[in-house]
């Protein structure tokens, strides 16, 4: 009696399987997959087109805000759970640069110690003189703003979008065009708000522009993102006659023109001049500015919310979402 055995033969290609299963069925499946993929691609293209063409109050933006409101609690929870791991990763990463930074900081500390005593005296003198002269000069940062401290819940998803998400939204009083800072300096500006989260466009974004001035020489210009995707900035539109030296501090200009005011209050530190150059064919100086804020390790930020009654004009160019 012949014995029947079953053997499993591995197939190296799917062609035999196709033959065994029947070509029409395979073709139908392939056609269906192709059709669905095509529909999804067209749907994606439609989403992109509508999203870019509609205003911030459009249907898709609204749906996205609702979606973000649903997802943001998970992101906040994820951020809290992930924080120790992130800190651990940050610690390990920082160790690589710690040795070099240590020597640099020690040298800097010596200078700062010497300056600290002078600064204390100068600050006292300054305060006294300001009171005496009743120095009122344009928007005064501490008077017109209150700070909303919050956490960063999402970092830029790629190098093209220099935007972060923060865990404070309209519920905390945050509005579009509110400046965002850290104790080190300017971070960016709020460009979209939901009830529990906001999007902040960093000053390193290619479409950001901040009117700024050199503290030491008062040379005025506009701080923009540098030509590369690294964190360096450029101080643009500074006349070739103006004097700018390496090491100068750059702060927000906080201009006032009639009833209009800059979006950024005056005197927020932006960065330090690390390179100055000019060529005969250029209209302006070429000034490189290294930001004071380390955008790679942003964890907590402060949103400057205007106090009631502090009028703000929205004239300064900020990133406009298409």
């Amino acid at each position: 009696m012949p014995r029947e055995r079953t053997a499993r033969l591995p197939l190296l290609s799917s062609s035999s399987a196709r033959r065994a299963e029947g070509a029409p069925s395979q073709e139908r499946r392939a056609f269906k997959a192709r059709a669905v993929a095509l529909v999804l691609v067209l749907l994606s293209l439609a989403l992109i087109t509508i999203y870019l063409r509609e205003s911030n109050g459009g249907v898709l933006h609204g749906a996205q805000r609702i979606g973000l409101s649903v997802v943001s609690p998970f992101e906040v929870a994820g951020e809290r759970i992930a924080r120790p791991f992130r800190d651990g990763w940050g610690y390990v990463s920082d160790l690589f640069g710690a040795k070099h930074e240590n020597a640099k900081l020690r040298a800097e500390l010596e200078k700062v110690r010497a300056q600290a005593i002078q600064n204390l005296t100068a600050a006292q003198d300054n305060k006294q003189l300001r009171k005496q002269l009743r120095f009122i000069d344009g928007p005064r940062f501490p008077d017109n703003y209150q700070g909303v401290s919050t956490r960063v819940i999402a970092r830029p998803p790629n190098v093209y979008n220099q935007e972060i998400l923060i865990a404070a939204g309209s519920g905390a009083g945050v509005q579009v065009n509110d400046p965002v800072v850290t104790p080190e300096g300017l971070v960016g500006i709020v460009t979209a708000v939901t009830s529990g989260a906001s999007q902040v466009t960093l000053v390193t974004d290619q479409e950001s522009a901040v009117s700024a001035l050199d503290v030491e020489t008062s040379a005025a210009g506009i701080v923009r993102a540098g030509p590369s995707a690294s964190s360096d900035l450029v101080l643009d539109r500074v006349s070739k006659d103006a004097r700018v030296v390496e090491g100068d501090k750059v702060v927000t200009a906080g201009w006032t023109s009639g009833a209009l005011e800059s979006l950024y209050p005056r005197g927020i530190p932006i960065g330090v001049v690390t390179g100055v150059g000019q060529q005969d064919v250029d209209l302006y100086k070429r000034i490189q500015v290294t930001p004071l804020v380390n955008f790679d390790s942003l964890d907590d930020v402060i949103v400057l919310v205007p106090t009631p009654g502090a009028g703000k004009a929205k004239q300064e160019k900020t990133k406009q979402k298409p």
Binding site: S16, A37, L40, L68, V71, E79, I153, A154, A229
Partner: protein, 173 residues
Amino acid sequence: MSGIDALKAGVLLLVAAVVQISLISYLRVADGYPDVVLVLVVSIALLRGPLFGACAGFWAGLVLDVASFQTLGLTSLLLTLTGYWCGRFGDATTRSSAHPPLIAVALATIAVALGSSLLHFMLGSSVPASELFGRVLLPTLALNLLVAYPLYRLCRRLFPPTQRARGEVSVAV
């Protein structure tokens, strides 16, 4: 495409997107970080074919775009194409391979980086090619290859290959 598989893939990609945004995007080497959502889409597509891969890619992209407040549809477009292509790739080779789909992950990473760069360039944002390759693509590629095997194993457990997909056939002798 079974409902259970779709549900599992939907939840897995949703969780992965949240983890990606809140944790993994901080684990940067230069400007690159492991793109677990991409690797999961590739793995799922390899295991379940182009139809499932395209749908998984679309969903993952949509969640990422919403959760990171980016242009809606941009990531969906890239991941839909990636999912579809990887599904075809899985069909053309075999889904029973015990080896991690390193080739698929590598090619998908490069394709998504270049596609993303092209789309952003068309939308007005650009990055110098040297930085894209040196600071973004190479670290991301290395990190994606590093996580490819464990994530593929996880997906194989969640989405076990069907008999047809195992590339086996019973023959009476």
